[in-house]
């Protein structure tokens, strides 16, 4: 059914269609609307047979899901940013125990300085935690991929994060086709756990494993993720057959075939890019784009195949490995290690910095001339950076970097970005 609906609400409706049995909720911007809406859907009976737990922290939120999932209940929670960090110990624990929890991440920057706006710092901080990480480009995909996420998680016995850009998707209203319950029921069978806490068949879960077996346990976790590389496209195809939409999968090409230059990114920014790249193609440039929809597992083979004719790759990412450079680009380089393709790394949109068509066009043109430094910080104001560096050189007690930069940027300019 077509609805004009907030992204968060659409996700709540999608999760509701998946017949969750336990939902734990803790507020953190910009994920909060999702769990608020789910609370209402449980209370008004739209979601039947579901326990909605109001927990005391994100650590408690995921821990409760660990318990409920281990006891055989389909379990869901959502988080963002600091919340993800606060539950990080449980994030690793859930995947280590192979519990098929689905968690939405409303992607938001990590502080300090505290910042509530969008980038991928939170999801990227958990990229090695053993969860599947599926990024979505639109609210329609957010709906579709959540439905696929439960099936993937339960099939693999691994937890799945659905990563959606905070505010840009979670808080935006757009047209979304909410599937019918019968369609979801056809696609998603009831949860049949591989391991379950059951008095009729007692087992011990989460016991200690020493050096004699830890490597093998980890290897199997890795192998399961590699298996997901086959399962994800398979389930996306099954999804398309029932729902009639191409959502999910490992990667998605946007006229990247045969293009000399291919832009790679994740998430919603592809929407703005598509328009810019179409304009550039009209002007005679051979340029296309490709999104990575499954960041974990990382689709190295699929990328290699898709990029076999590309001379140049520009990776645009809203995250930074401080002291190293781009995170997504590092992964892309690894996938392309045996090819001559030039991979350029562009870091942009950090902490919600708007990504504009004009800025992207300027940056892509620079990339086409091979003039992007490594890594390139998109739309950075180097005047302000240099002023702070100079201040630090001049005086020992130079003060708070964040505050100095805001002051240099001008209060009026800062107010405009609110």
């Amino acid at each position: 059914m077509l609805k004009q609906i907030e992204g968060s609400h659409a996700v709540a409706e999608a999760v509701a269609l998946c017949r969750p049995e336990v939902i734990s909720a803790y507020p953190i911007t910009p994920q909060t609307h999702i769990v608020e809406d789910l609370g209402t859907l449980v209370k008004d009976g739209t979601i039947e047979n579901c326990e909605f737990l109001l927990v005391e922290s994100e650590f408690g939120a995921l821990s409760a899901c660990i318990g409920s999932s281990a006891a055989g209940a389909r379990s869901y929670t959502a988080t963002s940013s600091q919340g993800m960090l606060f539950m990080m110990e449980a994030v690793y624990n859930a995947s280590g125990m192979g519990l098929p929890i689905v968690m939405t991440v409303g992607n938001r920057a990590i502080g300090a300085p505290i910042n509530i706006w969008n980038d991928w710092g939170d999801s990227m901080s958990a990229r090695d935690a053993g969860w599947l990480q599926l990024f979505v480009e639109s609210n329609q995909q957010a709906v579709d991929v959540h439905i696929q996420a439960f099936k993937l998680a339960e099939e693999l016995s691994l937890p799945v994060m659905v990563c959606m850009d905070g505010f840009i998707l979670t808080h935006s209203y757009s047209q979304v086709d909410i599937p019918e319950q019968s369609q979801v029921d056809e696609f998603l069978p009831a949860f049949e756990p591989r391991q379950v806490l059951d008095p009729a068949a007692p087992l011990s879960m989460g016991a200690m494993v020493g050096p004699e077996a830890f490597t093998e346990v980890r290897f199997l976790g890795h192998q399961k993720q590699l298996d997901a590389l086959d399962l994800i496209p398979q389930q996306a195809a099954e999804f398309e057959a029932i729902f009639g939409r191409d959502s999910g999968g490992l990667i998605k090409s946007f006229e990247s075939e045969g293009a000399e230059t291919v832009v790679i990114t994740l998430g919603s920014v592809i929407g703005t890019m598509k328009e810019v790249l179409a304009g550039m193609r009209d002007d005679g440039h051979s340029i296309g784009a490709l999104t990575i929809r499954s960041f974990r597992p990382f689709p190295s083979d699929a990328l290699r195949a898709a990029l076999k004719d590309a001379k140049r790759v520009i990776v645009f990412e809203k995250c930074l490995a401080v002291g190293m450079g781009g995170i997504v680009s590092m992964n892309v380089r690894m996938a392309l290690k045996d090819s001559d393709t030039l991979v350029q790394s562009v870091i942009g949109g950090l902490g919600g910095r708007p990504i504009t068509r004009a800025g992207l066009r300027r940056m892509f043109e620079k990339g086409l001339r091979d003039e992007l430094e490594e890594p390139h910080f998109h739309d950075i104001n180097m005047d302000i950076v240099n002023r702070e560096l100079e201040r630090e050189k001049q005086q020992r007690r130079s003060g708070s970097v964040a505050e100095n930069i805001l002051r240099d940027g001008g209060v009026v300019a800062a107010a405009k970005t609110i």
Partner: protein, 339 residues
């Protein structure tokens, strides 16, 4: 108090010097769970606890009593700690019940999740226990614990209190008493050992949450322990039982003195045994043979410095704590039936 307790009170075998009546002297229906052939041995033998481990003893009695009370329909969530480590080195497990260990600080939240799953699956006959040591309860697990209490989730949380982080090598927790030596409160300098005026009394904190049932128990009085666990399982909602479990390794005591130390802690007033319902004290176990704290302290190397004349003020402070407990909970009132 229950019939079991009443019955215990009536038996007077002062010749044992302990006020403890052996099982064989009791009516069959009043004997401990462990005395019966149908005990389920949820925590089976062959685990790797130290000799004289109070926690292993307390856990065995507590869990078997809970199993009996629930007809073996029980799931346990365990915090990281000694109990977890000594019972489950994969592929071995000492637990013959569904058991999960997740993390150090989340046992109560995991248990809340299990309880939610049982409710949604219409299996409310399956009950849930969370358990951990004092570190996992009063410190790192405190937030989650308070959340479980706040929501009044149908979980019995059992804290095995041995007054320090034993699994990591005896470091101070917020349950460590004043003056006690731990690896992070060594008996050096002025006021050796742990500082006075710190720490938390989690049973009282639990009561402040107005949860339906809170109790403290000790491994020297296993009938009472079993009674309290059984009582807890008769109630729905969040419940908290703290069991006093001496630790020979951490306390520097003889393995054979574990039960004796637990008794002396209670009879000196250092560890009051109480019950509370809906936030109000509903029962206390009276001290029948009051001892000075020195009797309790002198069997433990962690308090060795306290007994030196130079640290007489520490001994006084510990005695004052015991006296305050006795007064506060009216632990020494002589009851008619005991005379």
């Amino acid at each position: 108090m229950s019939q079991v307790s009443d019955s215990q009170q009536k038996v007077k075998f002062y010749q044992t010097g302990t006020f403890t009546a052996g099982n064989r002297l009791l009516d069959e229906q009043h004997r401990s769970v462990q005395a019966t052939m149908d005990r389920c041995n949820s925590l089976d033998s062959g685990h790797r606890a130290c000799q004289g481990c109070g926690e292993a003893l307390g856990a065995r009695y507590a869990i078997d009593a809970a199993m009996r009370a629930t007809g073996n329909q029980l799931i346990a969530a365990n915090a990281t700690g000694c109990l977890e480590v000594f019972t489950t080195p994969y592929p071995e497990t000492a637990w013959s019940m569904p058991w999960i260990h997740s993390l150090f600080g989340n046992a109560s939240a995991v248990a809340s999740g299990i309880a939610a799953a049982m409710k949604v699956k219409g299996r409310e006959d399956v009950r849930v226990i969370a358990q951990g040591g004092d570190g996992g309860t009063t410190d790192i697990g405190f937030g989650c614990l308070s959340g479980t209490f706040d929501r009044n989730d149908d979980v019995l949380y059992i804290c095995y209190n041995n007054q320090a982080y034993m699994n990591t090598g005896v470091q101070r927790s917020s349950a460590t008493p004043g003056a006690a030596r731990t690896a992070t409160t060594m008996p050096v300098g002025e006021n050796p050992g742990n500082v006075f005026g710190t720490g938390k009394n989690v049973p009282l904190v639990a009561m402040a949450h107005q949860i339906p049932y809170v109790a403290t128990a000790s491994v020297h009085d296993l009938h009472d322990l079993e009674y309290k666990v059984t009582r807890a399982m008769e109630v729905r909602g969040a419940r908290y039982i703290e069991i006093f479990v001496p630790c020979p390794l951490g306390w520097g005591s003889k393995p054979g003195d574990t039960v004796k130390l637990a008794r002396l802690a209670v009879e000196s007033g250092m560890y009051p045994l109480i019950e509370a319902e809906d936030g109000e004290i509903s029962g206390v176990t009276r001290i029948r043979n009051r001892v000075n704290v020195e009797e309790y302290l002198k069997l433990q190397r962690r308090f060795a410095h306290v007994l030196k004349p130079a640290n007489a003020n520490q001994l006084e402070q510990l005695q004052a704590i015991a006296d305050r407990n006795i007064k506060r909970f009216d632990l020494c009132r002589v009851e008619e039936e005991q005379l």
